[in-house]
């Protein structure tokens, strides 16, 4: 299948906005290497339920490509043109199934030792796009707020070990109403800088308060029926002989919200697709609440690029045999607060790394607090790195230092 032969009619199965985007750029797509177009279509086909930041990304890339001369286009995409494909991939209908094509291509790149070269090509391309069209300045510096250690009375674990060199450690934080203060900070920022999906609250247990206007929320407990439905579908697929893990992965990646009990209506469509992707494509998110929070935060930052993110970890269930965990049949499983604290500590570090990958990283703020305790760590442009403060401090004051 070659890109130069693409026709508008081939995209009739695409959702409306995705279809329009393709047809508006069909002439451009016909000039591009097939591998590149297939991967682009993997993103485009989900355009209708992508976050605004993701749509801007796609629009920006298409504008950049459209601005290039034929010679420039050839040079920029030469690495994609030179990928050696198998006969199966050459014949593959990537217009209809770009996600499946992407999975097969990945396997082929590994097996044919082309994966490293492909990474270099992809990096080079993205760097060129970024250089040609830098992102708009942010209305306010990003702020990440992490809450770890729920249910842990005391610990010997050296918290924030990976983050300490980047920020200031506080050992005398006043814990009273701590979480409410953080929630309040999110609400204030959402009110001052309203934008779709710009402010998030993710919880590994029950959501703490009534919905706040302008704050996108998701939680492990709220999604319990969805998780159960998803696990049931996985189990049934296996029992029916779906044909191995790759087929299962493919099935999961195409799961739609309405298949697992979420509405597909326009109001919640984008968030519901996001939640399903976290549970269906994230490894461990269905069974461990700590993994759910870390992966949700990662995906929210990567995809929605919020200005504010509050994520609270809760105790996960203890490890049991995977097959039993995935069957979801044991009620009230035993919890592992101590292990969850270690998971959350690493999850906070990963969330900071992911936040630093976004624009405005040099101005962003980050706070991680051991819930109910006196330990916290804050990172921001005005806070000295690698320092420790033993002075009593309120969480509101810490937030003020990050503002």
């Amino acid at each position: 299948m070659v890109a130069s032969e693409l026709q508008a009619g081939q995209f009739s199965g695409y959702p409306p906005q995705a279809q329009k985007l393709v047809i508006d750029h069909l002439t451009l797509l016909q000039k591009l290497p097939a591998v590149f177009v297939a991967l682009l279509l993997r993103e485009v086909i989900a355009y209708d339920w992508k976050f605004p930041a993701e749509r801007e990304d796609l629009d920006r890339q298409l504008s950049y490509l459209a601005s290039l001369s034929p010679e420039q286009l050839k040079a920029v995409l030469a690495g994609f043109e030179s990928v050696r494909l198998s006969e199966e991939l050459e014949r593959f209908d990537w217009v209809s199934s770009p996600e499946l094509y992407s999975q097969r291509l990945t396997a082929h790149l590994w097996a044919s030792h082309q994966i490293d070269a492909f990474h270099v090509t992809a990096d080079g391309y993205i760097n060129k796009v970024d250089a040609a069209a830098p992102p708009e300045p942010l209305p306010v510096p990003r702020l990440g707020l992490m809450v770890v250690g729920q249910g842990v009375a005391e610990t010997q674990y050296p918290l924030f070990r990976k983050l300490r060199k980047h920020g200031a450690y506080f050992s005398q934080v006043k814990p009273g109403n701590g979480f409410e203060k953080l929630l309040g900070a999110v609400a204030t920022r959402a009110s001052a800088h309203p934008a779709p999906y710009a402010h998030w609250y993710i919880d590994g247990g029950e959501e703490a308060a009534a919905p706040t206007p302008g704050v996108t929320r998701t939680s492990y407990e709220t999604l319990a029926p969805v998780r159960t439905a998803l696990l049931n579908k996985m189990e049934k697929a296996i029992q029916s002989g779906i044909g191995g893990p790759e087929a299962l992965h493919s099935m999961m990646s195409q799961m739609r919200p309405e298949e697992v009990g979420l509405s597909a209506g326009t109001e919640h469509s984008v968030l519901n697709h996001f939640q399903v992707s976290v549970l269906a494509e994230g490894s461990g998110t269905q069974i461990f609440s700590t993994t759910f929070v870390q992966w949700s935060a990662r995906e929210a930052l990567r995809r929605a690029r919020p200005l504010t993110l509050l994520a609270r970890f809760a105790p996960r269930q203890r490890q049991r045999p995977m097959n039993e965990l995935l069957s979801g049949k044991r009620q009230n499983p035993e919890l592992d607060p101590a292990g969850s604290l270690i998971d959350a500590d690493m999850g906070a570090y990963y969330t900071w790394l992911n936040q630093q990958r976004l624009s405005g990283a040099d101005r962003s703020g980050f706070l991680v607090w051991f819930e109910g305790h006196r330990e916290a760590l804050a990172i921001g442009p005005s806070l000295p790195r690698g320092t420790e403060s033993t002075s009593p401090v309120d969480l509101s004051e810490l937030l003020g230092q990050l503002a």
Partner: protein, 389 residues
């Protein structure tokens, strides 16, 4: 490409590999006073050292994927006290074992066992395409089936004992301890055994069809002179699937004393579930089990003084700094850190407390075993490591 983030390694792949190697090398020299192999070579050719006629070899994969961050980097060293204080001082340690193959556990372990980068589907229950070390060993040295065994986790490793290469065949018996335990618990797994049956972290629920040279419960019980009741009683007191594997391996050593024994550990692949605490706990357990295996060697008259043991990971895991991955959780980016591991070799004739800095490949393992044991790994794409063979 769309959605592909630009912030990947801050170092080039070569710089990253060199940094990892340097870190391990400097650390080892600092804590053990280890010397460089190149300096010692001119003094004493290894071949001149004593090599017992009835040499035995154990290969232990520190498997499931461990990163330097949780092992040889300063903050990770607390997780591997046994490697650092008991085993490395007795080893020749290779700081750069660079895996250029597919980073899936079965296909990578099969590549270790064949000396060729195998390219089959990691999740398929298929034999390696090229002859395995077990087939070379048995054919060239005319060894019986009982003289070489593989003890492996049950997720797809059941075909690793012998290849699909027609001119070979007759490889190792493969013992899958978790499957044995499941079979032994005829009424179904009970709560007291569930911790031993954690399975298949990367592809939960998926169980490949069993076929090949896998040993069934009764057959193995007969060979090991072990009753099913004894087996389940011992199992009850163990902490994890890898503990079960080491228990079975020790029984094999005790009853059959195979000359070539391959133990694939896998607990740490629990990292795929995203729980850092479980991953680190598994590394600590693997560290302890490696020391236990060596103690079993030294305390067993069939093995003591004539066994060379190789310990090496199958590969690493993704770097925290590669935005295409999710750090310790997976091994999907193919970044330099996930490809660069290490290997330690110990036993009679192997220099102790020596560090080898040059880059080698996991493919070099099989030809090295060939040099030690006296068979030709003729299809392997690796080369014998002169520092230890």
């Amino acid at each position: 490409m769309p959605g592909y983030m630009s912030l990947r390694n801050r170092l080039s792949p070569r710089q990253a590999v060199e940094a990892v190697s340097r870190n391990r090398r400097d650390f080892l020299r600092a804590v053990t006073g280890a010397g460089a192999a190149t300096a010692l070579f001119s003094l004493a050719p290894l071949r001149a050292l004593a090599t017992p006629r009835d040499r035995k070899v154990l290969v232990v994969t520190f498997g499931g994927g461990a990163r330097d961050e949780e092992t040889f980097m300063p903050e990770g060293q607390e997780n591997i006290p046994h490697l650092l204080t008991e085993l490395i001082p007795r080893s020749t340690f290779f700081t750069q074992v660079v895996n250029r193959g597919i980073l899936g556990h079965y296909v990578a372990t099969a590549s270790l066992a064949t000396g060729v980068y195998e390219t089959f589907n990691n999740f398929a229950a298929v034999p390696p395409d090229h002859p395995t070390v077990f087939e070379y060993f048995r054919r060239d040295l005319k060894r019986p089936a009982t003289d070489t065994w593989v003890v492996a986790p049950s997720n797809g490793f059941n075909r690793i004992g012998e290849s699909g290469e027609r001119s070979y065949g007759h490889g190792a018996g493969v013992v899958l301890p978790k499957r044995l335990l499941t079979a032994a618990l005829s009424s179904g797994p009970s709560v007291e055994y569930e911790h031993l049956l954690h399975d298949n972290y990367e592809t939960p629920l998926y169980t490949p069809e069993i076929s090949g040279n896998e040993f069934e419960l009764q057959h193995l019980a007969d060979l090991l002179k072990l009753s099913v009741t004894d087996f389940t009683t011992h199992a009850r007191n163990l902490a994890s699937p890898d503990e079960l594997s080491v228990y079975v391996a020790k029984e094999l050593m005790h009853q059959l004393a195979p000359s070539l024994l391959w133990i694939t550990l896998h607990d740490m692949d629990v990292a795929h579930a995203g729980c850092y605490s479980l991953y680190v706990e598994a590394i600590q357990r693997t560290d302890r089990l490696c020391a236990e295996i060596w103690k079993a060697v030294e305390s067993n008259p069939e093995y003591a003084g004539k066994t060379t043991m190789f310990i090496l990971p199958d590969f690493g895991r993704d770097s925290d700094l590669d935005s295409a991955g999710n750090g310790f959780q997976h091994h999907r980016t193919g970044d330099a850190l996930s490809r660069t591991t290490w290997m330690m070799v110990m036993g009679p004739g192997v220099r102790e407390n020596v560090v080898v800095d040059r880059a080698v490949q996991p493919l070099d393992l099989v030809p090295t075993l060939g040099s030690l044991l006296g068979f030709s790994a003729r299809f392997s794409q690796g080369h014998p490591l002169p520092e230890v063979a």
